[in-house]
C-alpha cells in the first residue's frame, strides 16, 4: 500500500493511504465506539483518509469496542459475522458500509498503523 499511515494537519490526527481494493468506491463513513464518535473515514476511489470531522456522512459504523474498530480498520473483520454477533452496527447507506468493510478486508492500508490510545 502507498502512503501508509501518514499523519498530518497539526493538532488533528489524520491518516491517509491508498487501497486498490476500494477503487471505484466513494463516500464518508463515521466511525463510532458505543455512542462516541471517533472520526470519519473518507473513501475516494481507493484513496482513504481517516480524520476528525463533524461533517455529514453517508453511513455510520458503530463498533462495540475500540478493539473491534481497530480490527475493522486493519481488515480483520468479516462484516456479516460482526453484525450477527452485535460487534458492529450500521446506520445509513449500508451498501457503502459493507463495501468499505469488505474492501478493507481485501486489502487494508492500515494493517501496521499504530492506532494508539484516544486517536484511533
Amino acid at each position: 500500500m502507498e502512503n501508509q499511515g501518514q499523519e498530518s494537519e497539526g493538532q488533528q490526527r489524520r491518516w491517509e493511504a491508498d487501497s486498490p481494493a476500494l477503487a471505484g468506491v466513494a463516500g464518508r463513513v463515521r466511525l463510532m465506539v458505543g455512542d462516541q464518535a471517533l472520526g470519519v473515514l473518507v473513501v475516494d476511489d481507493g484513496h482513504l483518509s481517516l480524520k476528525d470531522d463533524g461533517g455529514p456522512v453517508d453511513v455510520t459504523i458503530t463498533c462495540a469496542t475500540r478493539e473491534i474498530l481497530v480490527k475493522l480498520l486493519r481488515g480483520e473483520v468479516n462484516p456479516v459475522v460482526a453484525a450477527l454477533r452485535g460487534d458492529v452496527r450500521q446506520r445509513g447507506n449500508r451498501e457503502l458500509g459493507v463495501k468499505v468493510v469488505l474492501g478493507l478486508r481485501a486489502g487494508s492500508p492500515f494493517v501496521h498503523t499504530p492506532f494508539d490510545g484516544k486517536d484511533a
Partner: protein, 670 residues
C-alpha cells in the same frame, strides 16, 4: 413441506405449525416461528380447560395469513360441541394471532384459556443436525409482556409476547380466566415479535405485504389469458409465490428471490440467479436486485474456510448463531462452482431484455472479476475446464454444482466419481458466460478487443468440450470428468443444460435430444435427473431419479434454442399438467415414476414448497411455449404450443420496447 403442517411466510420470516395452529417442535417436527435462520418460537400451544381444540378446517387465505376453525370436542359423536374456536394468524415481523371463542350453548361456561410458549432459539443448522445450544436461555416478565431470550456473548435474540387482554403471565405462557355467557364470544389477540436484526431498525428486513400489495405486484406482471383454464391458476400461483419468496437484504435496494421454504429462506447465488432468469419477461427487477446483492458480496480474498476466491459469486448467506460464531462458513459461503458463470449469464440476459445500460456499466468491474475467476480459480488445474473440490473439508459442500447431494455424481455402474469434478453443465455455463460477456464488452463497455478474446476462448472451449466430454459409444456427453479426467458415463438431465448454454455441436445435440426424450429419461411428467437405466437410479433419490421442475424448464428452453420446438412443447405441457395436479404450485422435486403407472406425479417426501426456481418454472415454460426472446430492441415471439394448451396470450410484457403482447395457439403441425 408435510401435508400435516401449515406455513405462512413473509420474506425470511415464517411460521410452521400443525393444522390446529399449534407449534410443538420436536426432533422430528420442525415447527416454529423462524427469522434469520433462527427459531424464535418452538412451542405455542392453545388449551381450553386443559384440552387442545380439534381442527375442523384450515383456511390458507394468503401466503402470509391463515385461519384455523376448531372446536372443543366432547370425544363422542352423540354430544355436540358448544364451544368453537377461530384462530387468525398473520406473519409480519413476528406474527399476530387473534383467538376467538364462541359459546353456542344456553348455559354460561367458565374457561381457562392458556397459551403455552417457549423458544429454543435453534439455528436452522442445529435443527437439521440436532446440535446442543452453547449460550444461555432466559425469560422475563415486564408490564404483561413475556420476553423469551437467548444470549451467547454479543449474540442476543429475543421473542416478545404480549396480549390485548390482561391475563396471568408466567415464564411459560399466558393464562386467561373467562366466564362466557350463553350465545356470546370472547377474543384476545397476541403480538409475537422477533428481535434479531444485525443492523439498526431503520428498514424492514422482510416485505410486509397486504393483500392489496400482493395484487399490485401481480398486476405489474404481464396478464395471461388462456383457453386452458388451469394455466390461469398456475400462473397466478407462481406470481403470488414469487412475491412471497421475495427477500430484502436491508443492504441493497429492492428485493431478490430467496430459495425456498422452509430450509432455504436465504440468499443463494445459484437459486436467486436462476429464478431471476426464469422471471425475466415478467419481473426483470428481481434480476437487478439479485445482481446488485451478489456483486456486493463477490469474493475478494482467498479464504479456504468459506471456499472464497477473488471474483467468485457466493453460494449462500446465513444469519444464524452458527454462522455468527463461525461454526459454519455461511458469512457468506462460496461453495458453488456455477454461480459466477450464472451471474454473467443473467447480467447479459437482463441488459438485453431491459436495456438497463446503467447497471451493466455499474457492474463491469464485477463482470471482469468473474471472468478472471473462471480462468484462474474455477479452472483449478489449468486444463481449461471448471472443476470443484471443497477447501473447507469439515463443513464445506462436497458437490458444488446444482445437484449438490453427496451421491449425485456417479458413474453408470453407481461408483461415485472422485474429486475434483468438472460437471458438464459447468462448462456449458462458462461457454455461455464468455459469449454473453463478449457482447456486453463490445456493445456496452467499448472493449472490442476483449470481446474478441472472449469469443475466441469460448469457441476453443466449445471445440475441446465436444471432444473431451463426448461418449461416442453411448451417444451423449459425460456427466463430468472426474479427478482422474475419466468420463463419468451416467446418463443424466445435465446434458439438457448443454442445450441451454449452446455448447453442444448440432449433431451431438441431436443425439442428446433422443436420449432426453427417451423412456429412460422422460417419465411422461418430466425429465428425470438420472435415467432409469443407470445403476444409481432411484425414483425418489434427491438428484438420482426425481424430476426437478426447474431443471426441465431450462432443458425445454435449451431445446428451443436448438430448434426442437415440439420436444420443448412436450416437456412444457407435461410440466404444466403436473403443476395443475399440484394445485398450481410445483414442488422442488417429485418422484421419477413413469406416467403410465400413475395418474398424478408422486410427491417427494421432503421437497421444499414453495421453492423459488420451481415457482419460476411455469414462467419459463410459458416463455418457451410462446418462444419469447429479446434481440436487444424488439420482442421476438415464435410460438410452439401443443394441445390441450390451446391459445395463450401474454399481455404487456415489459422490456426495452416498453410493453408488448404475445399470442400463440396450438397447431396440429406441432
Amino acid at each position: 413441506m408435510s401435508l400435516n403442517t401449515v406455513s405462512i411466510l413473509d420474506g425470511n420470516m415464517f411460521v410452521v405449525s400443525d393444522r390446529r395452529g399449534d407449534i410443538d417442535a420436536t426432533p422430528t417436527d420442525n415447527q416454529g416461528l423462524f427469522l434469520d435462520d433462527t427459531r424464535f418460537l418452538s412451542r405455542w400451544i392453545l388449551t381450553i380447560n386443559g384440552t387442545r381444540p380439534a381442527v375442523l378446517s384450515v383456511d390458507e387465505q394468503a401466503y402470509f395469513k391463515v385461519q384455523f376453525f376448531e372446536a372443543l370436542t366432547t370425544g363422542t359423536v352423540y354430544v355436540d360441541s358448544h364451544l368453537s374456536v377461530t384462530r387468525r394468524r398473520a406473519v409480519s415481523k413476528g406474527f399476530r394471532e387473534e383467538i376467538e371463542i364462541a359459546n353456542h350453548d344456553k348455559e354460561a361456561v367458565d374457561l381457562e384459556v392458556k397459551l403455552d410458549a417457549a423458544a429454543d432459539f435453534a439455528d436452522l443448522f442445529e435443527v437439521k443436525d440436532k446440535l446442543e445450544k452453547k449460550g444461555q436461555l432466559y425469560s422475563k416478565l415486564s408490564d404483561g409482556t413475556l420476553t423469551l431470550g437467548y444470549q451467547r456473548e454479543g449474540f442476543v435474540r429475543e421473542t416478545r409476547i404480549s396480549a390485548s387482554q390482561k391475563g396471568e403471565t408466567s415464564k411459560d405462557g399466558i393464562t386467561f380466566r373467562v366466564r362466557l355467557e350463553p350465545r356470546t364470544h370472547w377474543s384476545v389477540s397476541f403480538d409475537v415479535q422477533a428481535a434479531a436484526r444485525m443492523t439498526e431498525p431503520e428498514g424492514t428486513p422482510a416485505i410486509s405485504l397486504s393483500q392489496k400489495e400482493v395484487d399490485e405486484w401481480c398486476s405489474t406482471a404481464p396478464r395471461l389469458v388462456s383457453t386452458w383454464e388451469p394455466l390461469h391458476q398456475i400462473y397466478r400461483r407462481s406470481l403470488v409465490d414469487m412475491a412471497a419468496l421475495r427477500f430484502r437484504t436491508g443492504i441493497v435496494p429492492g428485493a431478490l428471490p430467496a430459495a425456498g421454504l422452509p430450509w432455504f429462506m436465504a440468499v443463494f447465488g445459484r437459486d436467486s440467479l436462476l429464478t431471476s432468469f426464469q422471471a425475466m419477461p415478467y419481473a426483470p427487477e428481481l434480476a437487478a436486485s439479485t445482481l446488485r446483492a451478489l456483486a456486493l458480496f463477490q469474493g475478494r480474498v482467498e479464504d479456504p474456510f468459506r471456499d472464497e476466491e477473488p471474483g467468485k459469486i457466493l453460494h449462500e448467506i446465513r444469519l444464524g448463531e452458527m454462522t455468527a460464531f463461525e461454526e459454519r462458513p455461511h458469512s457468506p459461503y462460496f461453495g458453488s462452482a456455477d454461480s459466477t458463470t450464472l451471474f454473467l449469464i443473467v447480467l447479459e440476459e437482463y441488459v438485453r431484455w431491459t436495456g438497463d445500460l446503467a447497471l451493466a456499466r455499474e457492474l463491469e468491474p464485477q463482470a471482469r472479476a468473474a471472468i478472471t475467476w473462471i480462468d484462474r480459480f474455477g479452472d483449478r488445474d489449468g486444463d481449461g475446464y471448471i472443476e470443484y473440490e471443497r477447501r473447507n473439508k469439515e463443513t464445506g459442500l462436497e458437490n458444488q454444482c446444482w445437484k449438490d447431494s453427496w451421491d449425485s455424481i456417479a458413474f453408470a455402474d453407481g461408483t461415485l466419481a472422485p474429486t475434483p469434478r468438472a460437471t458438464c453443465e459447468l462448462q456449458g455455463y462458462a461457454y455461455d458466460a464468455k459469449v454473453r460477456t463478449a457482447r456486453l464488452a463490445r456493445e456496452v463497455w467499448g472493449a472490442g478487443a476483449w470481446a474478441k478474446q472472449l469469443e475466441g476462448e469460448a469457441a476453443e472451449l466449445k471445440r475441446r468440450f465436444n471432444k473431451d466430454f463426448w461418449i461416442p459409444e453411448r451417444g451423449f456427453f459425460a456427466l463430468a470428468l472426474d479427478g482422474q479426467k475419466r468420463k463419468v458415463d451416467s446418463l443424466t438431465s445435465n446434458i439438457g443444460h448443454l442445450l441451454w448454454s449452446g455448447i453442444a455441436d448440432a449433431d451431438k445435440a441431436s443425439s442428446c435430444v433422443k436420449h432426453l426424450m427417451s423412456d429412460a429419461l422422460f417419465s411422461g411428467w418430466g425429465i428425470r435427473t438420472m435415467a432409469s437405466s443407470e445403476n444409481s437410479y432411484n425414483p425418489i433419490g434427491y438428484h438420482v431419479g426425481t424430476v426437478w421442475p426447474h431443471d426441465n424448464s431450462f432443458i425445454a428452453w435449451g431445446l428451443r434454442r436448438y430448434g426442437y420446438r415440439a420436444e420443448a412443447a412436450r416437456i412444457a405441457r407435461a410440466m404444466l399438467e403436473a403443476a395443475a395436479l399440484f394445485n398450481g404450485r410445483l414442488p422442488e422435486a417429485f418422484g421419477g415414476y413413469d406416467r403410465a403407472t400413475t395418474h398424478f406425479p408422486v410427491e417427494y417426501p421432503t421437497a421444499c414448497s414453495p421453492q423459488a426456481w420451481a415457482t419460476g418454472t411455469p414462467l419459463l415454460m410459458i416463455r418457451t411455449l410462446l418462444g419469447l426472446d429479446s434481440d436487444g430492441v424488439h420482442l421476438i415471439v415464435d410460438p410452439a404450443i401443443l394441445e390441450p394448451l390451446g391459445r395463450i396470450e401474454l399481455l404487456d410484457i415489459p422490456g426495452v420496447w416498453g410493453r408488448m403482447d404475445a399470442f400463440g395457439r396450438a397447431r396440429s403441425a406441432n
